[in-house]
Symmetry: C2
Subunit: 190 residues, 2 copies
Amino acid sequence: MKRSDRLVAMTNYLVEHPMELISLPFFSDMYGAAKSSISEDLAIINKVFKEDGIGYLESVSGAAGGVKYIPDVSKERAGKIIEKLCLELEDPSRILPGGYLFMSDILGNPSTVRNIGRLFASRFTGLNIDSVVTVATKGIPIAYAAAEFLHVPVIIVRRDPKVTEGSTVSINYVSGSSKKSKRWYCQNEA
Amino acid sequence: MKRSDRLVAMTNYLVEHPMELISLPFFSDMYGAAKSSISEDLAIINKVFKEDGIGYLESVSGAAGGVKYIPDVSKERAGKIIEKLCLELEDPSRILPGGYLFMSDILGNPSTVRNIGRLFASRFTGLNIDSVVTVATKGIPIAYAAAEFLHVPVIIVRRDPKVTEGSTVSINYVSGSSKKSKRWYCQNEA
């Protein structure tokens, strides 16, 4: 495989596997290239990812070492995403009866949701996150988007546990608005 | 920008924008390269995407032309994904009281969900899909994953319409299991 081909394949592999440690021999074997060539490829990818503002490659040395794609959003890129969101949200025709804000079109756009998830994730890549927890239902898409970039599972907390979820952990709390005691249920992950 | 750098940046741009028509001048301007160089880059990317079994680039000629990344999953790649899913699902310890199947761990894994979405999407790339419709709540993550690859919005159909969703379209139906009349609500997209 030529360098140009490897760069395309490796870029795609890395962005599809964020926060996963990939050993150099894995790439060597997969693309039939020397480790030194793979290292040079990774240096090119790292440089472009940084310039593009989508993150960087972290090298882990030693026998169990390798490379990890850390998704990150540059300030400039984040600013653009947030500015576009604000522009969309400030449209007065979004105000619904009762003063609610219509956002279903924005939250129904998968690439917007993916960008929001990436923004969230980039603030947590250094914190060894175990999982992303969300409350059903509106939060689910953003939770998945963030969890994908963090390479962790999603746990959904519900008011009404479903029999298909197996055993659950529940907590009681007093609602701030209604002052009534309520209960949340959460999947009991092994 | 050198070819090696462009290949990394363009690969990432294309996989982040599936089913979007991108004009050659857009890439030319962005990376400061001649259209002929960009065409050669795209040929390399197309070849590697096909070999990798993740789709292909479609060229649209003419003044309004450009290139579009069509996500597709090769039979070989699809077989591996499905086989892995089957192996996970056939574990007898998944059977819950009442004969239900525990799947929350699988559906809580964002990369599994993304792969399932990609599989679904790859069967619909040629059909000019307008949107992906899902029934709340379990279907939401897979719907978003498929919709992302198809570059279309997600519409969520619910039993209980929320005031924050604005106007809704509803349909009545008779449930096959309970023989009772029920109603589904769907966002009324502009």
